[in-house]
Amino acid sequence: MNGRGLVLAAALLLAPVAGVAADDAEGLGLANVKEFTLEHSRGLVAQAELLEAGLADYHALIAAHGGDYAAAWAAEGARLAERIHTIRALWLEASNHYETIEGIVAGIPETAKYDLILDAGNPGTESEDVAEYDLPLPDGTVLKRPGNLFHTITEPLFWGMDEKGVKLPADLNGDGKVTRGEMLFDANLGLGAAQGLARWAKALEADMTAWKPNREDALTSVVVMTPTVGDYFGEWKESQFISGEIGAFVAQSRLTDVEGIMSGCRRMYSQALSPVVAAIDADLDSRITAGFEELLGLVEDTRAREAAGTKFGAEEADALGNEAQDIADRIVAMVLQAAAKADVQIRG
């Protein structure tokens, strides 16, 4: 028997063992992914509750002056400025907990609705991807399908980009000037949204706890979420960080979302799927793994450069987005080859 024959014979003998090992590794990987997601879900709930408490405090300060923002500012200016500073910091922490697991939450059919409600859904005026929920406010008003809580409601509200939500321009940093974003925002909407955030974060945690991890969901999650990288890069390109115009995503760069989502996809693949794919086709697994490394490398480099103050030109930003999309398309195509070989149905 020549060398090749020996390798084939060994492969045949070890194949069942490898299959069992892959199953165990898959189960363990899926459990790890679930635990990781739950950990951040719990973090999100904790931060959302703190945010709710912060908003309740802010709301109480305004209410103590009969809802007169000017009077409240005149009497409690320093406290209100400090509250807004705290609220923004809490918002960022809550948002970052969610961004870390967004790729997984949005990719699992059973939890995908929470992504629309919390982070990615449109208001009811849009035709697709509508966040299906109504938001009750403390004064009894109910906002019908108002859009997602993080980026449609709270971020523009807390950072003063929602003009309707600005109640009083105010010199929050005390530098003698009132620049854009320095203002008191609508306390009623803010508290209602924070309550909604806490409520839906708890619902997500409950559904994620009930989720039974499985191969189909893991594959679907990777196939559905990985190609969204181009959309997020597009939003990044259009945001103030590239165009210099004030728009959405003022609190932090959209690249934070890209990094969180793609990290989630990589985690799902490397922990839950890689053992299965490697057992079927080791070459394919290594190519997919390398693809994720390449994609995350591109995203992390870009994010690091942005954080270091790099100003990207229009073509460079466009080229980065196109390249990220190309890599993502390639990864998804290879994952689909793996799914076909494993006879796994992709949902959605």
Partner: protein, 769 residues
């Protein structure tokens, strides 16, 4: 710094892994190709930056890695398996190194694209030649250097390679599959590169423009043999000549050249579609062209978006039509170059109109013209879309409904349910009803409330779950769809066509014949004159003729003059059934009264004069002219339109002669039933005849009420609650209008109770007299 160093050494690690890897990997260093692609991309990204010493050093190290990856093992492997590509890659690697040395991002992007497309080209040829030589593992290694279908999810090549490696497929068979898929992928990538070049040119992105142009040129070289084989020497020469003019990205006529290439490639398909695949695409194309104006008219009013979802769907359906047009382009151009050019222009015009929210009439006109072109090229059967297209699309739409429900987006799930039903009702149900009425009814019920044991889509979606039940219902529907396809794909025999034609007429027409016969019998028994202005013959015959004319007129007008949606048709049928039931209850009540209460003949004769006056527009008379006319009209019109549709559908599937024979035989049988009823009038005592016809009409009242309520339920105007205690039998539903649904049964029970009470009251009245 550490991270940078780690990334720099990734190619080296890949190299080491490759060196000690598996047998296949040792033969084909595909990992080196992957590493080269990734590393050259890293360099390209850095060329956007302003260089400093550190960046220069970083890039120089990476460039060295790229050169090493090519020259160490890849070059030797290509030299052996694809020698014709070595020189091109050699030159491109050198050009890349020189461009990077000059910090020239445009030239670098161009050279990098040439390196990669050269590697793809060689790997493609090497994979096929390895299969030809039976070196399967080597072929599998080469197949790792490739591009993938971005959206079509093609996986046939991977599966074929898996099968050939385990000995379940012959290498030459796998070769065909792999070649077809890869050529298709590269043809798509070529079109994409040309389109991107135009975009980059418009945006002024010089670096990306250079990359796209070089990628297009490289893919053109890869596909050159296929292009020559598929398009012929002249057109291939024109394409090659156009590509020579892409060398200068600054050329003023660059955009015109790219457009010309797009036009020349429009009819290129690397592989011919099989007749089945082609027919399926023609049907789908016709169907999507028909759907665009339907959705658009709902979605856009007066230049504004009225219903966003419908507007979105109109755009989506146009895009799908364009994709199918792309697949069919080569075939259509061969059949009719004029039709190809015009259809291409129409799709562009539609796109512009939809984007501008232009006039719906214009969109409808364009869609109609496009369907005409498809019909002229492929025949009217295929261009109708028909059940084949509907059966193909239905599972996809059901999956979309499931996906929407899984995301808890129940409003979208409901829209998808209605979209699926719109596919089922006109194209599947009408063809299936004449041939398998039980299956058609079961499928229809599953779109709505289903049964108590197996809830249908409408009920589950309205209750927002549970998801498992919806998954089960979809699985049932998919199985039923397959069964329907099997039945409809089977050509009917002459005897089968005859029997089904006979069954349609008896099923749809017997009810009307019985009602009319009973009514005419009662009128004759009453001694009323048939002829003359005050006679019953004119209103009865007029009603029947008007109904027949109306049925054909409606059949003719629908689709030509106006659209009648599925739900509107159900509503029309339901309302006409209920109106007929209302008139019939009145008539039945009257007949019972006459049959049980004495001196009825005198009363009838006394009212005969009044009837004559009523005919002339006078006062209210006995079973007045309008009552007779409307009842005759309603009982015939109720089923008339649908009967015409059923026969139209049957004639598509079956030979005409047996269908017409069945129709004639059914007519004779129905007339026979009518004759027997009228004969009874002559033989039975008048009161007994009235009791018999009254009882029969009472049953028909109950049938009509059941059908009417069911129609309103299907039109989504009345809720439907399935009940477990009533039998779910197709024959009860088809012939007696008895559905296991609470609302319909309740309405039928109330009507039956009313008629029973009226009989009971008349009996007591008679005893009292």
């Amino acid at each position: 710094m550490i991270a940078q160093a780690a990334r720099l050494f990734l190619p080296v690690l890949a190299f080491l892994f490759a060196a000690f890897g598996t047998v296949a990997a040792a033969d084909v260093p595909w990992q080196d190709a992957e590493a080269l692609r990734a590393e050259s991309a890293q360099i390209q990204r850095r060329l956007f930056r302003t260089p400093d010493t550190r960046l220069h050093e970083d890039v120089a190290a990476r460039l060295e890695a790229v050169r090493g990856l090519w020259s160490t093992r890849l070059r030797a492997a290509y030299e052996e398996a694809a020698p014709s590509k070595v020189e091109a890659v050699d030159k491109a690697v050198t050009a890349f190194a020189e461009a990077v040395g000059r910090w020239d991002p445009e030239a670098s992007a161009s050279a990098r694209a040439r390196v990669w497309t050269g590697l793809l080209d060689g790997a493609f040829r090497a994979a096929l030649s390895s299969l030809d030589a039976g070196r399967v593992e080597e072929a599998a290694g080469w197949l790792n250097i490739r591009e993938y279908a971005r959206t079509s999810r093609d996986t046939a090549a991977s599966i074929a390679m898996r099968e050939v490696r385990v000995g379940r497929m012959a290498p030459n068979e796998a070769r065909g599959v792999i070649q077809t898929e890869l050529l298709g992928v590269y043809a798509g990538e070529l079109r994409k590169a040309v389109a991107e070049a135009r975009d980059h040119r418009a945006a002024g992105y010089e670096v990306q423009l250079a990359g796209s142009l070089a990628r297009a040129a490289g893919l053109h070289a890869l596909l050159s043999e296929s292009l020559a084989a598929r398009l012929g020497a002249q057109k291939t020469g024109e394409i090659a000549e156009a590509f020579t003019r892409l060398d200068d990205p600054q050329a003023p006529d660059l955009d015109a050249t790219l457009m010309r290439i797009e036009a020349l490639l429009a009819t290129y398909a690397p592989a011919s579609l099989s007749p089945d695949e082609r027919d399926r695409r023609v049907q789908l194309l016709a169907r999507f062209l028909a759907l665009v104006p339907v959705e658009y008219e709902k979605g856009v009013r007066n230049g504004e978006i009225a219903i966003p979802f419908e507007y979105f769907e109109a755009g989506l359906f146009r895009d799908r039509a364009e994709m199918l047009f792309g697949d069919l382009g080569y075939d259509l151009a061969a059949r009719s170059p004029q039709a190809f050019d015009r259809l291409s222009a129409i799709l562009r015009e539609m796109q512009a109109l939809i984007a501008q929210k232009g006039g719906g009439t214009k969109v409808a006109g364009l869609a109609e013209e496009a369907r005409g072109l498809v019909a002229a090229a492929y025949g009217t059967d295929l261009s109708k879309g028909g059940y084949g297209a509907a059966l193909s699309l239905l599972p996809d739409v059901l999956d979309e409904m499931l996906a929407a429900s899984a995301a808890e987006n129940w409003e979208d799930a409901e829209l998808k349910r209605l979209e699926a039903y719109a596919l089922f009702d006109p194209d599947i149900e009408q063809r299936l009803m004449p041939r398998a009425p039980a299956l058609a009814l079961k499928m229809e019920a599953d779109f709505w409330e289903g049964s108590a044991a197996e809830p249908g889509f409408s009920r589950i979606v309205a209750a927002r779950g549970p998801g498992d039940a919806l998954t089960l219902a979809v699985a049932r529907m998919k199985a039923a769809t397959q069964e329907a396809a099997r039945i409809l794909d089977t050509r009917l025999s002459g005897l089968g066509a005859f029997l089904q034609s006979l069954a349609i007429l008896l099923r749809e027409g017997l009810e009307a014949v019985l009602v009319l016969a009973c009514m005419i019998g009662a009128l004759k028994a009453s001694g009323l004159p048939a002829r003359g202005a005050g006679g019953w013959r004119r209103p009865v015959a007029g009603g029947v003729l008007a109904a027949l004319g109306g049925s054909f007129a409606l059949w003719f007008a629908v689709g030509r003059l106006f659209a009648l949606s599925t739900l509107q048709r159900e509503l029309l049928e339901g309302l006409s059934a209920l109106a007929a039931a209302a008139v019939l209850v009145y008539v039945t009540h009257w007949i019972f009264r006459k049959s049980y209460v004495g001196d009825w003949i005198a009363e009838i004769r006394r009212k005969a004069a009044a009837a004559a006056k009523a005919t002339e527009g006078g006062g209210k008379g006995y079973l007045g002219w309008f009552t007779l006319f409307s009842l005759s009209f309603l009982v015939v019109f109720r089923e008339g339109f649908e009967t015409v549709l059923f026969y139209e559908a049957l004639l598509i599937d079956a030979p005409a002669l047996p269908v017409l024979t069945g129709l004639a035989a059914g007519g004779v049988l129905a007339a026979g039933v009518g004759y027997v009823m009228l004969g009874l009038e002559a033989r039975l005592p008048v009161s007994a005849f009235f009791r018999l016809t009254g009882a029969l009409l009472a049953v028909l009242c109950v049938v009509l009420v059941g059908s009417g309520i069911r129609g309103l339920q299907t039109a989504a105007l009345v809720s439907a609650t399935p009940v477990a205690w009533f039998p779910d039998r197709p024959w009860l539903q088809i012939y007696l209008g008895l559905y296991p649904v609470g609302e319909a049964l309740l309405a039928q029970a109330l009507v039956a109770a009313f008629l029973a009470i009226s009989v009971f009251g008349f009996v007591r009245q008679r005893k009292a007299v």
